[in-house]
């Protein structure tokens, strides 16, 4: 039986709207109007224990709403959702004791308290036995490399340090499922790598089920085997990450820095993607026009300073995916 089961899940919000201008404001005093927003429209999927699922989608697609329903914060408008056989918003306390949640843009640690005191408070709130607490603390501190900041109040930490503490704090009670909502947002490269490495270990070695939302395709690339793309509250695709990447492999990029100003830059088998001064980017399909032929034909006609070949970026593929499905943020 799958660990997480979501069936026909729908969430609608009502937001107040008013007509523009002063007249609109006065009208709003008398008659309130609201507009309905469909955050999730009949979503369904299931997840086995130990899976790592990447959720991606443009802003406002419904990713966070889905995480909030799964974690028991929000009630859906209709539909079913079970985590380990528990309906999150009905048996909330039993449910949240077994999950860990990190929202990248929010903090759940106490702003004025030293990190270690927040940890201890959380351990008490989750009723973690003393021995188990010191064991997981030791492990988490080492893995997240946060030993030097434990005594520092949260507000004095950098974003990267803070996020590592946040993730550690979500795991003090050894949850079997971890929800990460944009865990790498705003982090520097080193912190991003640390977070990814940690999530990977947690999933592969400790068997923790992870659902991760992100805008950073490198997160997905490094972590997720399975990817669900959400747009306009619907699942656009639910597939294997490898398969998605293979689709992209068909297209590669050739970036040429010319040594001279070039006017005519049409080449057979390559389409112009962008141009900035003397640097020009082409797209080509290696199965039809091999890279070496293309390079030779360019070098034969122009003075060239430098040439590189790159895979198309996964971001671009996803962006294309959004626009095909009309899911780009409107």
């Amino acid at each position: 039986m799958p660990q997480i089961l979501v069936h026909d899940l729908t969430k609608r919000f009502h937001v107040a709207v008013r007509d523009p201008g002063l007249a609109g404001a006065f009208r709003g005093l008398v008659r309130r109007r609201s507009r309905e927003i469909v955050a999730l429209a009949s979503i369904g999927f299931s997840l086995e224990r130990g899976e790592l699922l990447g959720l991606i989608g443009p802003n406002g697609a419904g990713k966070s709403t889905l995480i909030k329903i799964l974690s028991g914060i929000l009630r859906p408008t209709s539909g079913r959702c079970e985590v380990d056989g528990i309906v999150p918003w009905i048996e909330r306390i039993a449910h949240v004791a077994r999950i860990g949640v990190v929202f990248g843009q929010r903090t759940q640690l106490w702003w004025d308290l030293p990190v270690i005191e927040s940890f201890e408070l959380l351990a008490n709130i989750y009723r973690v036995p003393k021995a188990q607490y010191s064991r997981s603390l030791e492990q988490l501190v080492e893995m997240m490399k946060i030993a030097p900041v434990l005594e520092v109040p949260l507000r004095q930490l950098s974003l990267g340090q803070r996020m590592r503490c946040e993730i550690a704090s979500a795991l003090l009670h050894s949850p079997t499922i971890l929800f990460l909502d944009e865990p790498t947002i705003g982090l520097d490269a080193i912190s991003k790598l640390a977070v990814r490495e940690f999530v990977k270990t947690l999933n592969r070695e400790h068997g923790v089920t992870v659902i991760l939302t992100t805008h950073d395709m490198h997160d997905i690339e490094a972590l997720a085997r399975r990817v669900i793309i959400i747009g306009n509250g619907r699942i656009l695709t639910d597939s294997n990450f490898e398969a998605m990447r293979d689709e992209v492999r068909g297209e590669r990029r050739l970036i040429v820095e010319f040594a001279e100003d070039v006017v005519d830059i049409e080449f057979c088998g390559a389409t112009l993607k962008s141009r900035e001064g003397r640097t020009v980017e082409f797209a080509f399909d290696p199965s039809r026009s091999p890279a070496h032929e293309l390079i030779a034909s360019i070098a034969a006609r122009h003075e060239v300073e430098d040439i590189r070949v790159e895979d198309a970026k996964i971001e671009e593929v996803i962006a294309r995916f959004y626009s095909i499905h009309g899911a780009a943020e409107s």
Binding site: R92, V96, R106, Q108, L121, I125, Y126
Partner: protein
């Protein structure tokens, strides 16, 4: 599960918050100075009022003690919602409260108790030092905070002021709910109006017209100021004192039940849009 481990999360939050509040010494000092200042002004007004000569239900010395008690325990008055919960409500972080495997209502109540008690302790102790100990020494005994009427009165006062803490904290949870429901801390802006005027903090309730006393005694806010202080200097004694304690306990229960119902309602309705 043993009672201790059942209570563990709530006691931990109570302790953490209490120790955090004790750190805000500068705020406490500023508050203390302001309270001394207002205490002096109120006493001067009362003295002028008593100089008018008419018979009053409490003596000037009792009225002065009333003022000092009020200034010492000012921080027990539920003027506004919990600051952290207000911020969380405004930023949408309040959903995080639902991620904890605890009863949110009890948790908020504990936070409120810790907040009120820590704040009041920080101010009551120096106020007692100045108004009850220092003033008599420097020859201002007539203007000082007097000792309780009897030993029994002091015990009943201890019970009554404990009920004041609970009454105030259960009411704070109601303010929290209002703030969460409307997503702005201004939702609790009306509270000071009722809390100040109906508790006796502005004018001791006992000095208001006799025909209003029945209503004033049984409305919820009397239990914040008027009832415990009158018990302290013996104006409410015997059955009247028990009636006062009963009124406090009754309203605490009412606020507790209302708070539970309202909290579960607002929590089912929070939307927390965006991320």
């Amino acid at each position: 599960m043993s009672t201790l481990s059942l209570a563990q999360p709530y006691l931990a939050v109570l302790a953490a918050r209490f120790s955090l509040m004790l750190q805000y010494r500068t705020a406490a000092l500023a508050g203390f100075v302001t309270q001394c200042w207002w205490g002096i002004i109120k006493i001067m007004v009362l003295a002028a009022f008593y100089a008018g000569g008419a018979d009053q239900p409490i003596t000037l010395s009792q009225a002065i003690t009333y003022v000092w008690l009020g200034q010492a325990f000012l921080a027990l008055l539920p003027w506004q919602a919990d600051a952290d919960i207000s911020i969380a409500a405004e930023t949408g972080n309040v959903g995080y409260e639902r991620l904890r495997p605890v009863d949110t209502h009890v948790l908020w109540l504990m936070r409120a108790i810790a907040w009120r008690v820590a704040n009041a302790t920080l101010r009551a102790v120096p106020m007692f030092g100045i108004a009850a100990l220092l003033l008599p020494v420097i020859g201002l005994r007539a203007w000082a905070w007097q000792p309780p009427a009897t030993l029994l009165a002091s015990l009943m006062f201890a019970l009554s002021i404990t009920l004041t803490v609970l009454l105030s904290s259960t009411f704070t949870v109601l303010l929290n709910c209002a703030v969460v429901a409307l997503k702005t801390r201004r939702a609790s802006n009306l509270a000071p109006l009722f809390v100040n005027s109906l508790s006796g903090m502005v004018v001791p309730l006992v000095l208001l017209p006799a025909w209003a006393q029945g209503f004033l005694f049984w409305q919820p806010f009397a239990g914040l100021v008027d009832i415990p202080y009158r018990i302290y200097f013996g104006n409410l004694a015997g059955n009247a004192a028990f009636a006062g304690l009963f009124a406090q306990a009754l309203w605490t229960c009412v606020f507790f039940v209302l708070g539970r119902a309202w909290l579960s309602r607002v929590m089912n309705r929070i939307d927390m849009q965006g991320s």
